[in-house]
């Protein structure tokens, strides 16, 4: 299997490389991300804008390159996140399920080890996550929720930058890394 770090698009699916993680990594990292999401903003409010559970979901989905694995990771993280929030169970679950599925599907076509690809994908999936969550809140719960595109773009960029660093850190946790 040949791999070139200069290429963004893979010529075929056989070029994609499946990353494997230990089981405790697959459990603890999402839990840590959720814990960070609910605990750290108590002390540092500005860190509340970071969507670490989303970034972890995107990372594992991209790396696993399996849509089913991606959607299961997304559903699990989302449901746990829902259970710790005031949302009804399923709101984050559905959105992150879709994110995990599409991220895994995208990971089959792109060289997800590329930093720029990770930046763009993290930015895109952040926007997708926020927009879809807003849409579901309005459609399913009938609640009025403001979606500010400009703010979403800024936060998306911020999360994308964080995602590049986070993904680089998480790469260390891969089997055989």
């Amino acid at each position: 299997m040949s791999y070139s770090s200069d290429r963004i698009l893979l010529s075929n699916q056989r070029e994609s490389r499946v990353s494997r993680f230990r089981a405790w990594v697959l459990v603890l990292v999402p839990l840590a991300a959720i814990l960070f999401q609910v605990y750290v903003p108590l002390f540092f409010q500005f860190l509340g804008y970071l969507e670490l559970p989303l970034l972890v979901t995107v990372y594992f989905a991209l790396m696993r390159r399996s849509p089913i694995a991606g959607l299961l990771v997304g559903a699990s993280v989302g449901l746990v996140q829902d259970s710790l929030s005031k949302n009804p169970l399923g709101m984050f679950g559905i959105v992150k399920t879709l994110v995990g599925y599409f991220a895994a599907s995208v990971g089959l076509r792109f060289d997800v080890d590329h930093a720029f690809v990770r930046l763009v994908l993290a930015f895109f999936f952040y926007l997708f996550h926020q927009f879809f969550y807003w849409m579901m809140t309005r459609a399913l719960l009938g609640q009025e929720m403001i979606f500010d595109p400009q703010r979403a773009l800024i936060l998306g960029a911020l999360n994308a930058v964080v995602a590049v660093s986070l993904f680089h850190f998480l790469d260390k946790l891969k089997e055989g890394a």
Binding site: P67, I68, L71, L72, A75, G78, L79, P88, L89, G90, M91, G93, I94, T97, L98, Y101, S105, L140, L141, G142
Partner: protein, 404 residues
């Protein structure tokens, strides 16, 4: 099975995604309630199921309705056919009953005429018509066995019909007055013009041999003259429809009155009795019932009723009185009571007091005995005797000769 497995493998990812999404949606729906405190899963379920149920119900009701209507229509068709048959039968019955009723009326009129007429007659029924289309012949169900003889006249209460041409044991042949061979002597009601009635082969007859100088009016009635020795004098023949001047005689068209109501029952004149020609045209054979006049409650009507009672023996104005008759009678009484004669006196002379109410005129016409005289009411003026004139302006004297 292999294609199925490949299909499942091919869409495995999207299938799993949909299942997971669906499961979470269910989870969401179980928890969330809408603003009416109804769980979303109920709302979604109802929203998802009811359109399908509506479609299914539409299909089911449509299918059932179609078959039901089909069978119903078959039943309706059958019922319609049966109702039509019933309607036809009822129409037939209705026509039959109307005919029976009409026949009963005719028979009743015939019986009344038979009882009133001085002539001895024999009632019979028309049972057939002549075979020749040009001739106007009918057969009646009374023959020589019943005393019918050739040459006897045949009439109805409305007028003459024909004469017996031949009498068979059980039936008789009657030549109608519309037959060209028929002739009978007739006389007009007003001008007493004598002529001969002849058939013309169609509905109307003509009266011949009436001189040109005789005046016969349209609408005048002709009666039998008795000259032909068939019909006794005085039977109605018909009404004049048209009168034209012919070469030597008047051409008079007559509408036969005896054939106007159709011909089903007739009377054969066994022994004819001559009668006088009536002054007025014959009234319809059925007597007309006149209802009594309506009760009057006005003072004028009360006075008129009193006067009616007092003058019931008057020779004129007999029969049902109209309001005008009562007024004339009342004013005449008032005038007589006050010595006023209507039609006399110059214009501007004093008229009678029309408000004066005279005493009932029993004392004037037939004096009543004292014991039966009405008691006088104290303080009320009593009426003077009718024979004693009273000035119109002066009130009547307080005591009348026949009151205590």
């Amino acid at each position: 099975m292999a294609p199925m497995e490949s299909l499942i493998n091919r869409y495995r990812n999207i299938t799993v995604l949909l299942l997971v999404i669906l499961a979470q949606l269910m989870l969401l729906a179980v928890q969330v309630k809408n603003d009416q405190e109804v769980r979303m899963i109920r709302v979604w379920s109802v929203t998802a199921v009811t359109p399908l149920a509506r479609v299914l119900e539409s299909i089911r009701s449509g299918a059932f309705g179609f078959f039901q209507n089909y069978f119903l229509l078959r039943d309706v068709h059958e019922e319609n056919r049966r109702l039509k048959a019933d309607l036809d039968r009822l129409k037939m019955e209705n026509v039959f009953l109307k005919t029976e009723l009409s026949m009963a009326d005719r028979v009743k009129a015939l019986a009344q005429f038979q009882s009133r007429s001085p002539s001895r007659t024999l009632a019979s029924r028309v049972i057939a018509t002549g075979a020749n289309s040009n001739s106007r012949l009918v057969y009646v169900d009374a023959g020589s066995a019943a005393g019918v003889q050739r040459g006897m006249g045949v009439v109805t209460p409305d007028g003459i019909v024909g004469k017996v041409l031949a009498a068979y044991p059980t039936a008789s042949e009657v030549l109608l007055i519309t037959d060209p061979d028929f002739a009978a002597g007739v006389i007009s009601q007003k001008s007493q013009a004598r002529g001969t009635l002849k058939g013309q082969g169609y509905a109307n007859c003509k009266v011949d041999y009436v001189p040109l100088q005789v005046k016969v009016e349209v609408g005048e009635m002709f009666y039998t003259s008795g000259d032909d020795r068939i019909f006794p004098k005085g039977f109605p023949v018909g009404k004049v429809l048209a009168v034209r001047r012919g070469q030597d005689f008047l051409d008079i068209q007559v509408e036969p009155s005896g054939l106007k109501q159709g011909l089903e029952e007739v009377l054969i004149l066994i022994e004819g009795v001559h009668q006088a020609i009536p002054e007025a045209p014959p009234s319809p054979s059925a007597p007309i019932y006149l209802a009594p006049p309506p009760p009057q409650s006005t003072p004028v009507a009360d006075a008129a009723e009193e006067e009616d009672a007092s003058q019931a023996a008057a020779p004129t104005l007999r029969g049902p009185l109209t309001e005008a008759d009562r007024l004339v009678r009342r004013y005449r009484t008032i005038g007589e009571a006050q010595g006023h004669k209507f039609g006399e006196g110059l214009p501007g002379s004093r008229p009678p007091d029309f408000n004066y109410r005279p005493q009932p005129a029993t004392a004037a016409s037939v004096p009543a005995p004292r014991s039966t005289a009405p008691p006088a009411i104290q303080g009320s003026p009593a009426a003077p005797p009718a024979s004693k004139p009273v000035p119109a302006a002066a009130p009547p004297p307080a005591a009348a000769p026949d009151t205590p």
